[in-house]
Point group: none
Chain length 130, copies 4
DNA sequence: GTGGTCTAGACCACT
DNA sequence: GTGGTCTAGACCACG
């Protein structure tokens, strides 16, 4: 069963996109495996405090991407082979890093200063690889 | 006069927020100084190809934050002292970098691999410091 | 025993309403008589390939209308006198035909062209009187 | 401008399908022409007493069928050439007539009796071709 | 309990 | 004012 304990709802963009990104990140990180059970619309709706329809929209788009499969009346599961995982992982790595690099350039920071800033922040944060 | 040459319109979120963020980043980067003239609503509307109302909305919110003020008829100017600039800059640097580091850790990327990925992407992008 | 051989499941509206309409039409047509046995929930569920709850819902509404009643244990039977049959039949004939005539008039079809269209379609369809 | 004076909201099926059918019938009957203005979402929403989003759904599906064209911020218009009109007309004629024929067969009415019933009802109704 | 669909209301960008 | 999108709540069929 996919856990949403780590999920925090931002008020940045559409909620359904935040959910999609969270699941993709989990798959790319290996936290979410293949044929893993997905929380029901109602359960996740109650947990996150959003409307079931919003969850439905996120799941529906993931289903169109082939990342989860749903059958009416039955539970839903992930469906990701190794190729799909690699594709999702690369997609997230490039998009997130591009956003950050763009921000650094806009702030007039050169690459070495940016790396130095990362070194200061990286170790202060918990979790992940060291 | 504030330049919008570096500005690229994304289809992420509301346009007026993108404009606000661009100006704040410019101030933080030092490319936009104090008492610098802001393009007229009409001119910026034509340059970016967006509706004048959208520009008006962005300027209005910046005025409420005290970041731009209207003087001498129709022209508007920035209004930020050095302390404000330094504060905004540090805030943006830390928050954007923290977001990216968090994402890399979620994806299980170690620091050296993350740096290597940045090196690949940094030079492929136009603009900013080299 | 009511036969469901002629029944075809559409994807128009709620299934339980389709079942109710089918039985009412059968009564109006005379193919379903008074005190005729109704298939068990389980049997009809298996025959139509729909969920037993859906059958239950249809039967429950028919019971509330007094059209079927439960007798002698689990078996259910129809309960309609001749006057009721004639009234239902006339209602269905007039309402369905009125709907069709209204549609033809809206489309600007005269009566003879409408009849010619019916002749083309009537024979292509299976079942019913020839 | 398309008129909705003749439109009556049934509680049969989905509202957006009723709206789609009404517009298609108008096009097939010649009541609605090419390049004719379509009521705005808000205006039709207020007139029919339904949510603007329901109108939006109907219009969106009509746009996917190429029957109306919409531009953001501008009014919407129909877009139907003679071929499209003929296609829509045939589609409605066959589907409506098929429904009626199916109903008559289920009620055990033969073709001649059905025709006689139509003759009784046809002239009692106002409008359309005589 | 499950997933799927329809209707409702608010917000955004644009003319 | 216009069209487009996001979130919300209720209902239906199904296991």
């Amino acid at each position: 069963m996919i856990s949403f304990e780590e999920f925090v709802l931002e008020d940045d963009g559409p909620i359904y996109l935040q959910i999609i990104k969270y699941i993709k990140q989990g798959i790319a990180a290996g936290t979410i495996g293949n044929q893993e059970e997905v929380p029901s619309r109602r359960a996740l709706s109650a947990l996150l405090g959003v409307n079931p329809n919003t969850i439905q929209k996120a799941y529906h788009m993931l289903e169109e991407e082939g990342i989860i499969v749903s059958r009416s009346g039955a539970k839903s599961f992930t469906s990701v082979d190794d190729d799909a995982i690699a594709r999702i992982r690369r997609e997230l790595l490039v998009s997130d890093t591009t956003v950050w690099v763009k921000s650094m350039k806009l702030l007039g920071v050169n690459r070495d200063d940016a790396f130095e800033l990362v070194r200061q922040i990286w170790n202060d944060m918990a979790g992940g690889e060291e």
